[in-house]
Symmetry: D2
Amino acid sequence: MSQRPYRVDVPLRWSDMDAYGHVNNVQFLRYLEDARVIGFQEWFGQDRSLLSEGVIVARHEIEYLAPLDFRHAPISVGMWATKVSGSSFSLAYEVRDPAEVGVVLYARAETMLVAYDFVSATPRRLRLDERTVLQGVSGDPVPFRWRERTS
Amino acid sequence: MSQRPYRVDVPLRWSDMDAYGHVNNVQFLRYLEDARVIGFQEWFGQDRSLLSEGVIVARHEIEYLAPLDFRHAPISVGMWATKVSGSSFSLAYEVRDPAEVGVVLYARAETMLVAYDFVSATPRRLRLDERTVLQGVSGDPVPFRWRERTS
Amino acid sequence: MSQRPYRVDVPLRWSDMDAYGHVNNVQFLRYLEDARVIGFQEWFGQDRSLLSEGVIVARHEIEYLAPLDFRHAPISVGMWATKVSGSSFSLAYEVRDPAEVGVVLYARAETMLVAYDFVSATPRRLRLDERTVLQGVSGDPVPFRWRERTS
Amino acid sequence: MSQRPYRVDVPLRWSDMDAYGHVNNVQFLRYLEDARVIGFQEWFGQDRSLLSEGVIVARHEIEYLAPLDFRHAPISVGMWATKVSGSSFSLAYEVRDPAEVGVVLYARAETMLVAYDFVSATPRRLRLDERTVLQGVSGDPVPFRWRERTS
């Protein structure tokens, strides 16, 4: 990627741990949700947020690379667009320690989002200003490790 | 797939809905977790459960095909093994209405699990009896719709 | 109480456990929420549910009496009304093993609910039919053990 | 109270909202849990945390005073001890806007905690240093509004 990903610090909660004493794998998807909520507000502005105008999650792919234990420091979610098409786009993520905390990479992930008109309950085309924003934060494909080994 | 998938009914909770009034996309991963917990006990037996002996989630892939609203009826998770290798295997899922409730397919998903020795904190080889069980529930690859369109 | 409380079976989820390996105390409130959703539909009918017409939670009180570990059997929530006033009422709960599973009492709790008009965003008076239903399921005060010892 | 309560900022998550579009009442208990985790580390020190030595939640009481909507600003949880006895103590909380955000009081609550020895699985007496810390953060009883009106 020619540019550094947009980074959002996401706080952990003690309850994110499961009975094994590590952050539960499902909670990582919560962190990505929080990162999107924070990131979209910065990218698209409070008034015309993609989130309120409407996107729906069509797909997630996530790989877990290291166990994460609860700590008071947040994790840092790097986020960039990987594909922008007529009515959908994909967001890539890296879940890492913040630079001042450590160097561990915990997970890589990608979410496909479809622009949606909640009034008519149908997909809609991305607006020009939305496409412009997304192209400005576009980056490389996610180097998934295990996709090839799957079906 | 030559055989019908193993099916587990998973109850919804009212709190699975998010502010949009639909079941939140992340909660689908909770349903898959519950389906594994129930299914593994039946497949591997209460005493030698893969879950207690140890597996860790290495990867999830999920596609959302229809919105799911809270209702008192459970959803039905069909589950089968798609790949069994030396120390890992993948589980495929279909999240559907139970037959007596409807015909909607809400999501397809796949989880890669790695057999793990929690005492030594290292991956371990699948035992012969575990491989035999998994081969007995093996089935076709998941017909994901959007994987090709991703990076 | 002159009558037996209304009983609702509520399923556990593996993720209800926290890092201590027991069902987390906060998740008990989720069980009460699920019990209300199921119970109110039976008490008030699907079409004119108190929940959709509107109630808001004004207060919870809960005492934990025994640790609960995840198991496949549900817990049984007994539920009855303790106070019915002009625009609010209280629900009492006992969280127990279902009779066929055991005899442990895990928690006692009480929730105060205020009837609410979501359109005008103000409290409203309970309708006569709502009061009649609630009086039909009324019962004794909750025998809290520790309330006296608190402030 | 003769002193100002200890204050902890707790971040919200978008998923704390329920289908009504407000922060769900149960999630407030999560905020209190997070406040305890942060506060106890400061009060008791990282090495001899009450949490790791062991406390269990015996009781919660909470009153909801104003609806809370998701926003990027955290809520501020004020926290102080209200009772310290041989093997238990109570924590009081006020859930407010941080001073720089607003003046709304969202909830008052109290939790009774019992000191616990997880090795022997029995209650234990509070240590002298624990009692000293708790007495140093003691304050007034919680001015609950609705306790009298309950059973």
